[in-house]
């Protein structure tokens, strides 16, 4: 039996990093007017979620067995996939909008209002 690998990083640090990145991403989404920039911030948020999953996978793998770690990684895997799909569609949307309004300033897209 090969010895288990000791990872000297407490999972709480990873979680904190995830929290900080999440806050940064949220601020970016709420405060920027450029559509592309909003998407980038969104990617940051998704990555923070991935980090959180990894942290938990790490911790609970130690407590409950390696299968949990595997599930955690798979979750991240799928999230990456979905994020990619979402980015593709979103960017296509922006292209279409730019064709329409010659701008990607989000504040200008307010026809669907009262």
């Amino acid at each position: 039996m090969t010895p288990a690998t000791l990872i000297p990083i407490p999972y709480t640090w990873i979680l904190s990093l995830s929290a900080v990145l999440f806050v940064i991403g949220t601020i970016g989404v709420l405060l920027r007017r450029n559509g592309i920039a909003i998407f980038l911030s969104l990617e940051i948020m998704l990555n923070s979620a991935n980090l959180a999953f990894v942290a938990f996978a790490l911790e609970f793998a130690a407590r409950r067995g390696v299968a949990v770690a595997l599930t955690g990684q798979l979750f991240v895997f799928f999230i990456i996939g979905i994020a990619a799909a979402e980015a593709a569609v979103g960017l296509a949307l922006f292209i279409a909008l730019h064709r329409l309004k010659e701008t990607i300033d989000v504040d200008r897209f307010n026809i669907l209002r009262w």
Partner: protein, 166 residues
């Protein structure tokens, strides 16, 4: 030693994510995001999820960010406004809300008992093998589902982006 690497990677991630959201030039935003991804990938590798690290780099940094760059160049977006310009009230509220959420999460995390160093047992076969096997057996349905989703996204992107035929 690993701990220090982790701290450096974390610092890089935070700093460059700040740049991503703050800088005016979209190209700079994208490239700094790339660096964030690299840092994250390093962290994944450090905790033993090497396949995941590779996927992160290939898919995220390699494909998604390149897509972003293409679109920026296509739409010829030069410089944009500053962070938080227009609607100052919204900006303030948003920032406050975000920070509040962050504080709440940190507080929850602080309650956990940090065990220094977690044990990751070695299966002897490598993570790629394990992940691949799991995808094809126990997690087959989500796997196929995501592929269908990607197909839908592909078609959707095509339809949305093409020129209107008069």
């Amino acid at each position: 030693m690993v701990t220090y690497v982790f701290l450096v990677a974390a610092l890089l991630a935070v700093v460059f994510s700040l740049v991503t959201i703050a800088h005016r030039s979209p190209v700079v935003n994208v490239l700094s995001l790339a660096i964030v991804f690299f840092a994250l990938s390093a962290i994944y590798a450090m905790v033993g999820m090497d396949f995941l690290a590779a996927i992160q780099l290939i898919v995220y940094a390699g494909a998604v960010l390149v897509l972003f760059l293409f679109v920026i160049m296509l739409l010829n977006i030069r410089s944009v406004e500053r962070l938080g310009s227009g609607r100052p009230l919204q900006a303030a509220l948003g920032a406050a809300a975000a920070i509040a959420i962050g504080v709440a999460i940190i507080l929850v995390i602080a309650r956990q008992s940090p065990s220094f160093g977690s044990l990751l047992p070695d299966t002897g076969k490598g993570t790629a093998y394990s992940i691949g096997r799991a995808l094809m057996t126990t997690h087959l349905f989500p796997f196929e589902f995501v592929s269908v989703l990607l197909l839908a996204a592909l078609v959707g992107a095509l339809v949305l982006a093409r020129k209107e035929e008069r």
